[in-house]
Symmetry: C2
Subunit: 348 residues, 2 copies
């Protein structure tokens, strides 16, 4: 498990990590955005060997991975060297895989520069690239030596990116307790300061770490972290197929509503909490527009989810906030009924 | 750690492994040779999805790896599927890496079809490909679910390949005890039956497993398994650079002699045992021809070994058979003196 540092003193923290590890060389992986906007603000990496990959999920591929390997060689990295991944989820996922496979594994540190990257990708030991048209098809489980989580880089991000990360924080709160959910629902997302966000992020990642710690390689309880994602991924794929992609976190927010409906139908999840969640999501994320003509397409997409076994739709639900139940088998009738209620709740 | 099966009943063993694992699909990785000569003899894989890669170390590269990933996708492999690697070290190293990274890791079973593959590559959790001109530059530590070791495939191998594997068995014996070394030195390599070889192979791999078990990721005592390899790799690289490659095991056999000389010089390793080892190697492997004009070139090659730290030559030596000492720093004067004695012992 990595050491987790929640701090807005990134430089001082990185210096301690780098000195403490006695690394013979340090490389830093950036994309075009973080090279320009973030790297110049991190003095502790001024002498690191800079490796740049093109930004965007479309570049989270084998070509970029091979490029990072080449650059690690050219920079003279050995088994005693360190790679710092400075970027969003694409950079930390791909950089983590590059480090975990270079010379059978060198140390890496993640410094996520987006809220979604911090809450979703940088912590938890999943690394990967897309391959053959499938997301994260190639990868390994590998733990960063350290993760430095700071909100000081988020001020330059578009509001939509912050909202996207916040949806994953809502998910963690739902997995943790009613009181954490209350805290999230009480936040004004248009006016949140970076210190409050940092402390909320710390609580959120503690929930995730607690679950990952119990089941690092996702054979059991870690599947709880897929809450909202079975339906969310189907929304995301549908939007992608129509050439109008939606941000991952928005898909998760809508997916959380549908899966809360399923939780109510199948496990007695509180209807009052369901209404409050739906109302929060509707006012902050709007709604993903569907009609009953789209149900079959969505069900098909859910059947092709990576977690599916033998074509049965399988998802994590909640009996209450803080009580996830994994491996619920969902019938197509269940899904159709839940989508009906989702449309009602969202007013579409 | 994998379950290790020493058996000449490969089919019955594979059937038990496959049924015991409840895999939803099975793929088998072969090269051109094992597809033709070995696969038809393994009925238990008759229905497996066959993936073929080109034979030879030169094809242990990223192109072959990507091809295997594509084929795993095309064959519909999921996280609950199995890859059987049926071949020598190239197939088990590359197939192990492909499986360990496909969907963040599916199960794999190694069935080595060469003696060198059985003793060197199939067991121990190292996977990898060559990259950027360096051997095994990209890889992970990943344990096979099972390894099925059989000598029944070895009858079609050239004698040189058997000799090559036998050198690694000599190395394991030297790491274990004087009595194991006696057993090895007493074998007539031109007339060994497959049941005796299987039982010797089992003893040899038990030595390796005992060491790997103590230090799977090679931070300490696992370096003992590099005995003979610091000098051996230098011989191998020199031969390669001159366009006259030598088999890996032969390089190891000669390397073992030089490192036994160093062990005698620096750690008081018995001169009697040294003479007997040298005589066994000379009569079974011949000698690698060098003059004192080659010393500087060889020393340079040793300095570029993957295990080198800051250009100091570092190797494992023995105080006695069964007592390896890792991380000995060797001066250039030591090496030159040892190479002089090696040439004397080998009569060159």
């Amino acid at each position: 498990m990595p050491s987790l540092h929640f701090t807005n003193q990134v430089d001082a923290t990185l210096i301690k990590i780098i000195e403490g590890g006695s690394y013979n060389r340090v490389a830093v992986l950036v994309d075009g955005n973080t090279r320009q906007l973030v790297l110049p603000r991190v003095q502790s990496l001024a002498n690191a060997h800079v490796i740049e990959m093109p930004a965007g999920d479309i570049n989270k591929n084998l070509d970029s991975l091979a490029h990072v390997w080449e650059q690690l060689q050219l920079g003279g990295m050995t088994r005693h060297s360190l790679l710092v991944n400075l970027g969003g989820g694409v950079v930390t996922d791909l950089g983590g895989l590059a480090a975990a496979t270079f010379k059978r594994g060198i140390s890496f540190v993640n410094v996520p520069t987006t809220l979604l990257g911090a809450v979703d990708a940088a912590v938890g030991g999943k690394t990967g690239i897309n391959f053959g048209g499938l997301k994260n098809e190639i990868g390994v489980f590998a733990s960063a030596a350290a993760v430095v989580v700071s909100t000081c880089f988020f001020s330059t991000l578009p509001q939509q990116e912050l909202m996207s990360g916040f949806a994953e924080m809502l998910k963690h709160a739902m997995l943790d307790s009613e009181s954490q959910v209350e805290k999230i629902l009480g936040v004004d997302l248009n006016d949140i300061d970076c210190d409050l966000l940092l402390s909320m992020l710390q609580e959120s990642l503690n929930v995730k770490m607690r679950i990952v710690h119990q089941d690092p390689t996702e054979h059991g309880i870690r599947k709880a972290l897929n809450l909202g994602h079975t339906v969310g991924h189907a929304f995301e794929s549908k939007a992608m197929n129509e050439g109008a992609p939606i941000p991952h976190g928005y898909a998760v927010a809508w997916g959380l509503v549908v899966e809360a409906v399923l939780s109510h139908m199948l496990l007695g999840f509180s209807s009052e909490m369901l209404y409050r969640l739906a109302s929060f999501v509707k006012s902050n994320y709007g709604a993903f527009y569907i009609t009953c003509d789209h149900y079959d397409e969505l069900i098909n997409l859910m059947r092709h989810d990576k977690k599916t076994i033998d074509g049965e739709i399988n998802c994590t639900l909640l009996s209450t906030c803080g009580n996830p139940i994994i491996n619920n088998t969902i019938t197509t009738d269940n899904i159709k009924a839940a989508l009906d209620i989702y449309r009602d709740l969202m007013g579409i």
